[in-house]
Symmetry: C2
Amino acid sequence: MSRHSEVPVTSVEAHEPPYYVAVFTAVRTENQNDFSETNARMEDLVQGVAGFLGMDHAQTPGGLGITVSYFRDADALTAWRTNVEHRAAQERGRAEWYQSYTLHVAKVERSHGFLNGADEAP
Amino acid sequence: MSRHSEVPVTSVEAHEPPYYVAVFTAVRTENQNDFSETNARMEDLVQGVAGFLGMDHAQTPGGLGITVSYFRDADALTAWRTNVEHRAAQERGRAEWYQSYTLHVAKVERSHGFLNGADEAP
């Protein structure tokens, strides 16, 4: 999940397809003990996954959070999904931090960026 | 973009793959004249697209906004992408409302939901 408090706000750019997105939509519980620390650790950890391309995060206060992670290929996704420390964090998330979530893993077929009036293609 | 002010907060559920996601990440400008009205109109309009499955939205205040739209197939995506009123709104978005955005269109290969401790598969 991106450190969205930084300025300027940016998002992960369009890459050359194919690549993968993992779309994680979540509603959190009121118990957020250790969530921030664990989340920061996961942000650091995923950087070490070969083929990790970046992460976008948005959080509506009191509402839905969406985290989109980008990976070069299925192997990169598998490496992150099976990471032992990540799995432990997911387990704790289900037990404590998340009221509900949905994960959609998808292969990007096309992408497109726009910046300051100048169209961008990967 | 979902009406996230409603209670309870929910997100679009996992569907049976394959289906499509359109991931739209955006940073808005300070000029948001007519944005809310147009956005509400687009939310209504997309409901009429055959194969539209739903939409998730999260907005970090002063930061990134992420909208994820779900479609049954490529035809549904094309219908929405080529909708004349939608295209006009996109044009105005580039001219006025968006400082930057990225769109990733992807075919979902697997999905998974979690609710209140009970795993859910589509």
